[in-house]
């Protein structure tokens, strides 16, 4: 589905990285593979350092820490927050919505909208889409989009496919109405037939967690995981991304009457180095325009990876400059979504460490 919004603007992005840093080299012995194989994959896939939460740290903790940072530094006023959208697959509880918990703990005003959205790697454009729609309301002038996930808690320590790339993080994006006459183009796509390609089978109402669902089983590739863990059919996801993302971007640029060279940056979800490099090659986009350094430095934190890519790679540049940026997220659902927008002259654009 094609989307089009007028007079909206991102005015600030903050990424919050959790306190623990894990190095792939220290985990190699967890996996049932030769050291040589693992070291080769390290280079190809971008396995490196990743940030993960300590036991007990939740999505709401990361978000509250980041929001307090903005309040304390006068980058955001509590009374200005008219809506808060939390995009996460790892809520604090099934009930109530984690966005409500955050609203309560921060003592935000009651006259506001709070909602949780369950989206994975396409969660950044999906959250922005929701924010843009909320801003159509007369009484909504500022929306806080929270992307946060702690999926490291759901990945088996013996899963070489998912464990070395999975990180945790939160990001806060402020979206406002913009008096200048700008247009933002977007697309959102869903294919629920691929729902099982990336899934945590147990732990919900369909298959509650039991001692049996916690039993580790080894697949034919030597990865061990249980039904309580994240299960990724890596080759299905890879093929889906290579097949669907390039035409999505082509269509997006066509709707915006832009060619690919006019885009300053392609800030894409960061699944792994190999997949993103293949995407850039297929799209004919120079690697310099598509940063690919988040997995190796922080890990893939699902829907948080796009704002992390922006704050880590552009940071202060976005305080004074403006760029035409193409955002794209793709993953579980299956879902894939994108936006093309002018971004710049932000009030803040930085990466901070969570310090409990």
């Amino acid at each position: 589905m094609n989307l089009k919004f007028h007079n909206k603007k991102i005015t600030g992005i903050l990424t919050v990285l959790p306190e623990n840093e894990v190095n792939f080299d220290d985990e190699i012995d967890n996996y049932d593979f030769s050291r040589g194989q693992s070291m080769k994959l390290k280079l190809i896939m971008g396995y490196g350092k990743r940030r993960v939460v300590k036991e007990g740290t939740t999505v709401s903790d990361l978000c509250i820490y980041g929001l307090n940072y903005l309040f304390d530094n006068n980058l955001l006023k509590k009374e200005d927050v008219d809506a808060m959208v939390l995009v996460t697959q790892s809520p604090d509880h099934f009930v109530p919505a984690t966005s409500h918990i955050i609203q309560g703990k921060l003592d935000l005003k009651r006259d506001m909208i709070c909602l949780d959205i369950n989206q994975a790697c396409s969660g950044y454009p999906v959250g922005l889409n929701q924010a843009f729609m909320l801003l159509e309301q007369d009484e909504v002038n500022k929306v806080v989009v929270l992307n946060a996930d702690i999926m490291s808690r759901k990945v088996s320590v013996k899963d070489r496919g998912s464990r070395p790339i999975t990180g945790d993080a939160a990001a806060i994006t402020i979206v406002e109405n913009n008096p200048s006459n700008n247009v933002i183009y977007g697309t959102v796509n869903v294919d629920g037939k691929g729902a099982e390609s990336l899934i945590i089978p147990a732990g919900g109402f369909k298959m509650p967690s039991t001692p049996e669902t916690a039993e580790l089983k080894t697949d034919k590739s030597g990865n061990s995981r249980s039904l309580d863990h994240l299960v990724m059919k890596g080759d299905d996801i890879f093929t889906f991304v290579q097949k669907e993302v390039p035409p999505m971007i082509e269509n997006l640029l066509d709707k915006a009457s832009k060619n690919k060279d006019e885009v300053d940056y392609y800030m894409f979800h960061q699944p792994n180095k190999f997949m993103l490099k293949k995407l850039a090659d297929k799209m004919g986009v120079p690697y310099t325009k598509m940063p690919n350094n988040i997995v190796e430095n922080f890990g893939n934190a699902s829907g948080v990876s796009i704002p992390t890519t922006i704050t880590y790679n552009l940071g202060e540049k976005l305080l004074t400059n403006s760029y035409l940026i193409c955002l794209a997220g793709f993953g579980a659902g299956l879902g894939w979504a994108s936006f093309l927008l002018e971004m710049g002259n932000l009030d803040f654009c930085e990466t901070i460490d969570y310090d409990n």
Binding site: Q37, K40, L41, I44, M45, R160, G161, K220, S221, G234, D235, F238, T239, V241, Q242, K243, F274, M275, K277, K278, L279, D281, K282
Partner: protein, 77 residues
């Protein structure tokens, strides 16, 4: 080129005789991570980027299918 393909395969999984097999996938000789390693080696060796939509198990089932994949991606003998 086929000898080079076998050399790369053997480097990735030295325990198997790739010259003697006609279906690496069905016989469990290659998994998806092995294919990723092989693609990276072939890309580097031949200065190409194998199209992501062609990185499918069936294109890595034997030496001939890998050979055809390379030809389709612009490699010449």
């Amino acid at each position: 080129m086929k000898k080079k393909i076998i050399d790369f395969l053997t480097e990735i999984r030295p325990e198997f005789d790739f010259a003697a097999s006609n279906n690496f996938i069905e016989e469990g000789m290659l998994d998806s991570f092995d294919i990723v390693s092989l693609v990276a080696s072939l890309d580097e060796e031949y200065g190409i980027s194998i199209d992501g939509t062609e990185i499918l198990p069936e294109n890595f089932s034997n030496v001939d299918s890998i050979y055809r994949l390379l030809i389709n991606n612009g490699v010449t003998e």
